[in-house]
Amino acid sequence: MRWRRARERLIETLIRLSGFSAIAIVMLIFVFLLKEGVALFRTVPLGEFLTGQRWYPISEPPGFGVFPLICGSLLVTIGAAMLSVPLGIASALFISEIARGWMKELLKAGIELFAAIPSVVLGFIGMTLLAPLIRQAFHVPTGLTALTGSITLAFMAMPTIVSITEDALTAVPRGYREAAMALGATRWQMMVRVLLPAAGSGIVAAVMLGIGRVIGETMAVMMVTGNAAVIPHTMLQPVRTLTATIAAEMGETVRGSDHYFALFAIGIVLFVITFVVNLIADRFLHREQR
């Protein structure tokens, strides 16, 4: 009896410990990021860092303006969202409401498989297949553009959006469907007027997770966006994203240099953007519940 109680306590302590350590690790990462990033602002003012239009970290004098990079990230992300959200929701509706039998199983397995493709492979495909197509189709000097990045990333966000949206749709109680059908709704009306609103919070979560994946994605965008740190004016220009900048430059910086600190400061910017996205998602989820 006493042995059993001791065991209970041990298990409880272990679980609590793992919970706390997860929080502690995240906090430590955040503190480290903050410490290294903020060091930059001793030499470069925050305003100049955020709104500066020149990113020339190893020129003399160096330029540490990340505005073009923020624009690049946002443009690629928004483009990817505009492609993947409607397509993803439509696919989820098709899989959960229309497809039956083998078709449904095949599509579900296909989406799972899609999620398993490493991003570098998608980047490779984007670079070798998509980029030449875009160059020819739009008669632009290079196919490595924001649009190429958006399309590639849309493929990365799709599996997340489709599978979570599909779960949300499947979780809508049968009673809602039956009620709508019994009132004489067509299948389309039932989907648009009942299912989508009822699954709303799940769909917002799906979209946010998909977008989160896009913002954080590094390898594929680095390969297909052309990496020019200039403020883009159209989708058909090369851009450079925040993530690609860190990945490309971290290997060649001197530890403790301004350039090194600047890359960490970019990390903070990314952190803030992701945090805001999550905050919006959270707001939506709670609004739905109320």
């Binding site: 809602y176 009620a179 709508a180 059908m181 019994a182 009132l183 004489g184 709704a185 007027r193 009822a198």
Partner: protein, 255 residues
């Protein structure tokens, strides 16, 4: 009883299969307008299945096969000239578990009006009020029409579902054990409501509660293992059943 009135629904030789299992066998019945017809029987006897034939809700289940005919005002409900959407507008349904949409009470009732483009603007408001009046919810809800319907009590939700079904002016209302999740007092109130509604609607109710069938219905049918054992005026069926199986059921010997 109005014997001159033509039957609203006629069921002719209806067989229904779920895959290989025959759930309904040679059902024959006619349901009179502006009456309450109750379908009783033990669980699994096919009474809900039969009810769901009247608005073709069984179409949603892939393995279902049907033979025979159901006529609504003399027209075959499976006939392509009667679109499914029209059929379901004319034959409304209320389910066992109250299933208001996760919208406000107002939007729940307006839902069907939007679907069939029956009304717009002010007219919608009038119909919402009228429907809620009819189910006795108006006074309770008039100041919180725009609050989520899911916050209402179960009884209020069920009344709302009845109001939602009524708002599109159906001719027949099917109720599938509408009181099974309600307490006796709420059940009594819903029964009173049904009694008032039969002035305007043909009502078919499935119930496993025999007292309820005896209290509210004009005509009753007893189903057992997919067969309609007996069908006739409720008074007669409960006081002087012709079939020994009906007698055994209503006296509580099985089921």
């Amino acid at each position: 009883m109005k014997p001159t009135e033509a039957p609203k629904l006629i069921v002719q030789d209806l067989d229904l299969y779920y895959g290989d299992f025959q759930a309904l066998k040679r059902i024959q019945m006619s349901i009179v307008s502006r009456q309450i017809t109750a379908l009783i029987g033990p669980s699994g006897c096919g009474k809900s299945t039969l009810l769901r034939c009247f608005n073709r809700m069984n179409d949603l289940i892939e393995s279902v096969q049907m033979r025979g005919r159901i006529l609504l005002d003399g027209q075959d409900i499976a006939d392509p000239s009667l679109p499914l959407v029209t059929l379901r507008k004319r034959v409304g349904m209320v389910f066992q578990r109250p299933n208001p949409f996760p919208l406000s009470a107002f939007e729940n009732i307006a839902f069907g009006l939007h679907l069939h483009a029956l009304a717009a603007g002010r007219r919608i408001h009038a119909i919402v009020e009228q429907s809620l009046q009819a189910v006795g919810l108006w006074d309770r809800l008039k100041d919180r029409l725009h609050q989520p319907a899911l916050r209402l009590s179960l009884e209020e939700q069920q009344r709302l579902c009845i109001a939602r079904a009524m708002a599109i002016k159906p001719e027949v209302i099917l109720l599938d054990e509408p009181c099974s999740t309600l307490d006796p007092i709420a059940t009594g109130k819903i029964e009173e409501l049904l009694y008032a509604l039969k002035e305007h609607y043909t009502i078919v109710i499935v119930t496993h509660n025999m007292q309820q069938a005896a209290r509210v219905s004009d005509t009753a049918g007893f189903l057992l293992l997919g067969e309609l054992v007996e069908f006739g005026p409720t008074n007669r069926l409960f006081t002087n059943p012709r079939d020994p199986k009906t007698e055994a059921y209503i006296t509580g010997r099985f089921g």
